[in-house]
């Protein structure tokens, strides 16, 4: 069974393009356009990885991370954050939940797939935080 990726962004185009790219790469993709919807989906069926936008209505990406971390079933799910405002993230924000990486928009879908593969491989070999990328200003 293929691994499940949950993609969350309030921009429908971004969700669609990421879903297609990840599906073409062999993953099962679930889509959500805000944090609350994403949390609901994650609790219903635990994803193997979450890719979420940082700034979203109702619930921000960070709030989603915090919520996932508090639930037993989703506490260990690795999260990749996408942001159009890298500097709005403070280093201490990255300690929240299980954030593995932060990518600045505009991003490359190709690079996202590579990052997803690497993160899932790391998760399989042993849990823990990886080095944060330099995209965070």
């Amino acid at each position: 069974m293929s691994q499940r990726i949950l993609v969350v962004d309030d921009e429908a185009h971004i969700v669609q393009v990421l879903s297609l790219k990840l599906r073409n790469a062999g993953y099962t993709v679930e889509m959500a356009t805000d944090g609350e919807e994403a949390l609901e989906l994650a609790l219903k069926a635990r994803p193997d990885l979450v890719i979420t936008d940082f700034q979203m209505p109702y619930m921000t990406g960070l709030e989603l991370c915090r919520a996932l971390a508090t639930e037993e079933s989703t506490a260990e799910v690795p999260v990749i954050i996408l942001t159009a405002r890298g500097y709005a993230l403070e280093p201490e924000d990255l300690e929240i939940g299980n954030i593995r990486d932060v990518l600045s928009k505009p991003f490359s879908p190709r690079a996202i797939v590579e990052l997803v593969q690497r993160t899932l491989a790391e998760t399989a070999s042993g849990p823990g935080h990886s080095q944060f990328r330099s995209e965070v200003a």
């Binding site: 971004i14 393009v17 700034q55 209505p57 159009a84 405002r85 928009k105 505009p106 991003f107 879908p109």
Partner: protein, 492 residues
């Protein structure tokens, strides 16, 4: 030879001659021979005295007359009258009058020089007085606080801004010690330090925060100042005075913060469509779309997002041009009825797709205003487009216009049966990049449309824009444009 010596010698010679004559004639007088020797000597002495008296008396009278003439001459000189001296004794008086005339001339020259100096000083005094008034006017016109203190840390000069910022009475502060006038400890210490260091070549800049009361003295607020301290050298090359200037940085900081916020929000808004464009282009390059339909969908997204990016950049530039006052306006008579019909016509297909009806209700009066036709079209288009976007299917948008004779303006209103605006968002809705978070999914926007409308209506046309709304009950945006534009051609 001097006249005085000649006169003395002549007098001596006359008196010697007279004595010699008397003494040589005396032995030939028989009567004298018959007298006692003592009496004879007495008579001869008496005769000599009489002869001398006869000689000296006219001479004395001559001296008297000369002294009187000299007196008149001196008196004349004192009152600046030239009294001529002639007659007897002139020669005798000449050295005195000559010396006196010389002295008088010298005194006159000195007097003239002093008068000239006095004139110069009076002119200089008037000039420096005028300069002092000018400097005072410059000083009091300054928004920066200026305080000049002397070597004893007493205030010699201060302006109204200083009195207001530091909260003292200007009239009574002069010649008072800074300890009695300036309440802020750090500022007093800065002034003392500036004098103690005595460095003339360097202006010291210190950032300092002060709590300042407003003009009414009711509310106090914290403001940031750039304090400049300059030492002024006196004639002994010591620190004669310290000039302290307080420049308010608060507004500059706020503007700088606003600029930084704008850039940050703008970059976020620009990155969003750019993300889609980049992602979809890469998908096409990587051949991720398996069929022609998929590719067409990618092209459409790229096209839409490119247009969105273009609109965003246009709006940003238009707003910043209006804010900077460099926008060129084609002011003409604009029939708002025509503008409304044009905008509604443009948006009809979009409304039809959503099953939203657009009703136009225009008063049957002249609705012509003076303004820029393209800009006013943009305002109507933006407001009607928003109304269509945020009105659910089956809803209704009503565009109305009427003239307001009281304010002599044309009022255009755009009402919808849409979602309405939350009360806390009503005041912020015209701010740049403000988006009602929960409506982001309903429609895509640049976050600049309403801000641009406000700028066009209020800054360019000196009109008014506003909104009334209840959550779930729809919204009504309105704007009023003066029928006759009163102002300069360039936008403020």
């Amino acid at each position: 030879m001097q006249a005085g010596k000649i006169a003395s010698l002549t007098l001596g010679a006359v008196m010697a001659g007279a004595s010699a004559t008397l003494w040589s004639v005396a032995p030939h007088i028989p009567w004298l021979h018959q007298q006692q020797p003592l009496l004879r000597a007495g008579v001869l002495f008496g005769a000599t005295v009489v002869v001398f008296a006869f000689i000296l008396l006219p001479f004395g009278a001559l001296i008297d007359a000369s002294v009187a003439k000299l007196q008149r001459y001196i008196e004349g000189a004192a009152s600046n009258d030239q009294v001529p001296i002639f007659g007897l004794g002139v020669r005798l008086m000449r050295p005195i009058t000559r010396a006196f005339t010389g002295a008088v001339d010298q005194f006159r020259q000195r007097e003239q020089a002093l008068r000239n100096q006095l004139g110069d000083l009076e002119i200089r005094h008037r000039v420096s007085e005028a300069e002092r008034r000018q400097i005072e006017a410059v000083l009091h016109a300054q928004r920066d606080a200026v305080i000049v203190t002397d070597a004893f840390h007493e205030i010699v000069m201060a302006n109204q801004a200083a009195a207001q910022i530091l909260g003292f009475d200007l009239a009574s502060a002069i010649h008072q010690s800074i300890d009695a006038v300036i309440a802020d400890d750090r500022l007093r210490q800065l002034i003392r330090d500036a004098r103690d260091t005595g460095n003339f070549s360097v202006c010291r800049h210190v950032e300092h925060c002060l709590t300042v009361k407003d003009h009414d003295g009711d509310q106090a607020e914290s403001r940031v100042y750039d304090v400049t301290l300059t030492c002024v050298e006196n004639h002994k090359h010591e620190v004669g005075a310290v000039v302290t200037i307080l420049h308010d940085l608060t507004r500059e900081r706020e503007i700088s913060q606003m600029k930084s916020d704008f850039v940050s929000k703008a970059s976020h808004e620009l990155r969003t469509p750019l993300s889609s464009i980049r992602a979809y282009v890469e998908m096409l390059v990587d051949g991720e779309a398996t069929d022609e339909r998929g590719r067409q969908e990618f092209y459409r997204v790229i096209q839409d997002e490119t247009e969105r990016l273009g609109r965003l950049i246009d709006n940003m530039l238009n707003i910043s041009r209006i804010e900077a006052g460099i926008v060129q306006i084609e002011r003409e008579h604009v029939d708002m009825k025509a503008v409304i019909h044009r905008a509604v016509q443009t948006l009809e297909p979009q409304a039809r797709d959503k099953d939203v009806s657009i009703n136009v209700r225009l008063a049957s009066v002249d609705l012509t205003v003076e303004g820029d036709s393209d800009m006013l079209y943009q305002v109507v288009l933006n407001l009607v487009s928003n109304a269509v976007k945020y009105t659910p299917e089956g809803g209704r948008v009503t565009v109305g216009a009427d003239s307001d004779n009281l304010t002599r303006s044309v009022v255009v209103s755009i009402a919808d049966t849409g979602l309405g605006i939350p009360p806390d968002s009503l005041t912020k809705i015209f701010e740049k990049f403000y988006r009602i978070e929960n409506y982001k999914r309903v429609a895509k926007g640049t976050g600049l449309g309403l801000s641009l409308c406000k700028h066009i209506v209020e800054t360019v046309h000196h009109g008014q824009i506003g909104v009334e709304s209840k959550l779930g009950m729809g919204s009504k945006f309105w704007f009023a444009i003066p029928m006759r534009y009163a102002g300069s051609r360039a936008a403020a």
